[in-house]
């Protein structure tokens, strides 16, 4: 995925941030969401290593090795922040205190099943906090490429990879489209230029419902 595409996905995800939300951002593209917080929206960032109220990356030279996010990179804190141990950081997650989490994915099913931690036969990195976040956050937003390196859809009828959590994903944002998991199935909401509805459907293995209105992002409707 190109830099521009990554930023577009992150910017789109940032539009899901609502004032007052407590938010946990996964590592990778999800971390970039913090760079695109909409004007007038204040959110509280949570980190599994024990911050409630993480702030922006410090200026170069102002880093503190003991003030980092869950990925090990320096952050700051905002007014009203607090530190806690990781048991309490996960208590916040399990108790439903996280309004929204943004995660990467290997596969997502049309029902919102998420696979993002292990590929059998390949080197496993581990689980980290993904299972708790996927299963317990009120809203789970997945950012990923629409297709994998072999050109196959990552949005599957059924996930083939071991699951992180069942029926947990609410919104999928890819380089091609924005799709919502609803009680009536997976619904196409937006198409990213220069793709067309037909292309999105072709590269989506899961059944995808096309409502009467689909928005176009980053260009006019083709």
């Amino acid at each position: 995925m190109g830099e521009e595409s990554r930023d577009r996905i992150a910017r789109r995800a940032a539009r899901e941030l609502k004032d007052g939300m407590v938010v946990n951002l996964g590592i990778g593209i999800p971390t970039r969401v913090a760079d695109f917080i909409p004007e007038g929206v204040q959110v509280v960032f949570h980190a599994e290593n024990g911050i409630l109220g993480a702030g922006p990356t410090p200026e170069p030279g102002k880093e503190d090795g003991f003030l980092c996010n869950a990925g090990g990179y320096p952050v700051t804190i905002v007014e009203g922040a607090s530190y806690c141990d990781s048991a309490i950081a996960f208590a916040m997650i399990r108790r439903g205190g996280i309004d929204m989490t943004v995660l990467g994915a290997l596969e997502v099913s049309g029902r919102g099943d998420l696979a993002n931690w292990i590929v059998p036969g390949k080197r496993a990195a581990g689980i980290g906090g993904a299972m708790e976040l996927a299963q317990k956050a009120k809203k789970v937003v997945v950012l990923m490429n629409h297709v994998n390196r072999d050109g196959q859809s990552k949005i599957r009828k059924e996930c083939e990879l071991p699951l992180t959590a069942r029926e947990c994903v609410d919104l999928i944002i890819t380089d091609m489209a924005v799709m919502e998991v609803t009680g009536e199935g997976l619904v196409l909401r937006e198409v990213m230029a220069p793709y067309t509805v037909e292309e999105v459907v072709r590269y989506t293995e899961a059944e995808l419902q096309i409502p009467d209105t689909v928005a176009y992002i980053g260009g006019d409707a083709p």
């Binding site: 599994e48 980092c68 996010n69 869950a70 090990g72 141990d85 080197r123 990195a125 581990g126 069942r166």
Partner: protein
Amino acid sequence: MNKIGTLEEALNRITDGCTLMYGGFGGIGNPPSLIDGIFEKGVKNLTLIGNDTAFPWIGIGRLVTAGRVRKVITSHIGSNPYAGQQMEEGSLEVEFYPQGTLAEKIRAGGVGLGGILVDVGIGTMIEEGKETVVVDGRKYLVEPALTAEVAIVHARKADPFGNLVFDKTGRNFNPLVAMAGQYTIAEADEIVPLGELDPENVVTPGIFVDRVIPGKGVNWEWVWEKKAATASRGAQPGS
């Protein structure tokens, strides 16, 4: 009641084949001087319990990279490729848990419970082979408590009784691990006189700590430091 001792005394407790629990998250909060000491002493065949295997040249990662570890009970090894490599080769056994489950398993050991009931991972391969119980009609995994022969933690300040406070996100697993050791060693950046820590702000009460040693502070370069990035290109596994 003075628990202050030397690194050498502390290292006497950490021997080949022992089960060692450690605080820290991505290297931050790993106790640097204790890990240095374990490394220099040549301790091997360790079973580690902790959040992650850090980075190849940072904190607990060094012991893994050097092949001193037989097994690790952890949540994540992705930031240390040597851990993954040894796992593939079969020289390192790895037992993964969801991070929050691992934190509570360690805490359960630390507070003297037999285990916890947790629903995270229900419906995934994490459930396989695990005992389950139903409470109020909902299924939970039975997750036994974890303890270790020795626990090592990194504190910002300690007093002679072993009361500890931590440093920002250096807290992470440290207060949990401090409780879960049959013998707990705290390395402190600063040792202060008894009575200097505010009783309201002590995070780990001294009763959980058996030995306090003065630390020399972090002796590695963080992943986000330019110099570290350079050094990493020259890093070699094993030693």
